[in-house]
Assembly symmetry: C2
Homo-oligomer: 394 residues x 2
């Protein structure tokens, strides 16, 4: 059912988000941004101050006239743990309400485990990190988890499509029983989009897309200021885009991800390395199976096979970006993933290819995520902070 | 800037839309649907009744208890003209606020004109229809126009990408000067999506897509109850979807529309007809150049070349539908255009192909538009009605 965002609680939640995005910010600017009256903003801010969620910063001089009191989030008002569950890496980080990192624990698994096994790993590192927070007398208000989908963000149920085996786990319940802390689960790309909105490049944009190009390809979409999850929480599966086999004149269907993901770039690099019979990747291949990390190292070592694979990756990423522009026409597309992180050249290449494809069509801003390494865990923390704040505000 | 939908006017506008979508509807149900309190709903409805926008219907018995008063839009409160400007057909229709057709005027042009010439045609049929409304003493509050994009829906400026020549026209201004009636311009698919939301299959769906498959392919998207136009009013250009040339291992890019539109289906049918050297299409081709209308007639006459072309069309439409599902995960996809209208078989075929592609992924409802022939003009009228109501409510 359509939910009119007019109830008082919703308004408070939105205003709290706006303070996160625009801080330090004056009450008058909040009124302008939100479309609320100054009186409404003042009333709500008063409540924020009483709850300790927000604090007034030092007065800032503006010209020779009156000084404006600026508002910012009270960083100590909420503490959460943001967890990024990848296929091989699990990272758990303690954040305060200001998004500041207080402590991080990591766990690397050389092989891909089942979802159940991964959840046991999560419990282990949460237990380690909670021992630390306990010793520092930091109260953890909530845990936020980002994990590859499909995810039911209400119930916290996860399907193990990206892990070994075929399992369905109630991750929220499992962590809540183990840690006795309210837990919220979000699809990794959706978490990252929230993180970018509150703490990254999405702060000043109402509609933007976070595009993650890793072993799979997925997008988290903020539309008109809100995370858009889709009716079955499956929106943004841009890696699953299908296209027809033109040459065959038949009904063969290609899935985009089979060509544009890190996996296919690695395969492409391997083939080139074997053909050339030399270079960093070829030498490494004699010792062991290549990993994405090797591909990145090979790129840094200027191995031609690796460079060519990264070029191909930029080409496919550009196609995804162009299609996102045709579908969603966003302000900004933030690209996350290992490749976007390795060199400014990658984003520049993607931009050039996109310009060619779009052919005069307005281009969105295009950037590598500035918070790339932590965008999922910070985004998961963002969901947790927003849930804790909502509860305090209701 | 983010606009909190909490100002009183916005709330009234949303409630007015909800009465359109759910009428006849009780105040208590409106409160449940909107999340507003019953007191707020009652206050706003009181204003609607005073303005004459809404009327109370006959009391309806519910069990043996109290009878509920149901609300519905007062059909006579607003009258508008909805105009559908196609490349060859222009249709102008007088609607009342209840979406009832009072009169229609049409104009067919065998050739594609320039945008300026088309606008002159529009003025001609508007003048004809206004003579009629004048004689019937019907006051026209506004004109709504749906036209292929790109369109600036605020300023009413249209680029003639789909017409002959290369022109930019301020359509809003041109019609307002000519007719002295407030005019609003919307991209055809966006207008149709609004029409479906207020009067068609979108009434009960918060997120749905109107997919138009004609000479081009485009989508109008309702996301969380609101028309999503994109940052440059260019969202939903699904026909421009690009994909790589896999066989070539090169950087060739295909544009989807070149394969999946009516134009390509017609070309495909022509090639097949020439090969077979008989059938309805082949016979017609001896006399004149084939049109989309001939293809539809050929399909009705069971010409194998036409049937095969329609099958191919269903296949490409299914690819677009699948990509819309992966991208937006909507409740419902309404398919408009000549092919969707010609036979239930077409939609059934699309559904089967989509099921195969989605492979277990949840399917949205998939339907041919029930208001297909009028969805653009009714949608343009919807925009006009909503603008008139907004003005009365502010």
């Amino acid at each position: 059912m359509l939910n009119i965002r007019s109830s008082y609680v919703k308004t408070k939640e939105i205003l709290y988000t706006l303070i996160h995005r625009y801080q330090p910010v004056a009450r008058s600017d909040l009124a302008d941004i939100s479309g609320l009256t100054r009186a409404s903003v003042s009333n709500i801010v008063k409540e924020f101050l009483q709850l300790g969620l927000v604090q007034e910063s030092d007065k800032k001089g503006v010209g020779i006239g009156r000084k404006k009191v600026l508002l910012k989030i009270n960083p100590k008002s909420i503490h959460v743990i943001g967890v990024d569950i990848g296929r091989r890496n699990i990272v758990a980080t303690v954040y305060n309400a200001g998004g500041k990192i207080l402590r991080t624990e990591r766990l690397f698994s050389p092989s891909i485990k089942t979802l159940h096994e991964s959840v046991e790993d999560v419990k282990r590192i949460l237990s380690r990190i909670l021992t630390w927070t306990h010793s520092k007398e930091i109260h953890i208000d909530a845990i936020g988890i980002g994990i590859p989908g499909p995810v039911d963000p209400e119930k916290g149920i996860v399907h193990s499509a990206h892990f070994r085996g075929n399992e369905i786990v109630n991750l929220k319940e499992s962590i809540e029983i183990s840690c006795k802390i309210p837990t919220f689960v979000e699809k990794d790309v959706n978490a990252a989009a929230l993180g970018e909105q509150w703490f990254g490049d999405g702060k000043k944009h109402d509609s933007f897309v976070y595009l993650l190009v890793v072993e799979g390809i997925g997008a988290g979409m903020i539309i008109d200021g809100h995370l858009y999850r889709g009716v079955h929480d499956l929106a943004g599966k841009v890696g699953r885009f299908v296209f027809p086999a033109i040459e065959e004149n038949g009904k063969r269907i290609f899935i985009f991800e089979e060509f544009g993901s890190e996996i296919s770039a690695l395969k492409f690099a391997e083939e080139n390395a074997i053909k050339s019979k030399n270079g960093y990747l070829y030498t490494t291949m004699q010792k062991r199976q290549l990993s994405i990390g090797d591909l990145i190292d090979g790129f840094r070592e200027k191995d031609p096979a690796a460079i060519e694979a990264v070029d191909s990756m930029a080409y496919y990423t550009a196609i995804t970006v162009a299609n996102l522009v045709f579908f969603a026409d966003p302000d900004l597309i933030v690209i996350g993933g290992d490749f976007a992180g390795i060199s400014p050249r990658f984003i520049q290449q993607v931009r050039e290819e996109v310009e060619t494809i779009l052919n005069g069509h307005p281009l969105p801003e295009l950037r590598a995520s500035p918070i790339h390494d932590i965008s999922i865990s910070l985004g998961a923390a963002t969901r947790a902070i927003s849930e804790v704040a909502s509860k305090k505000l209701s």
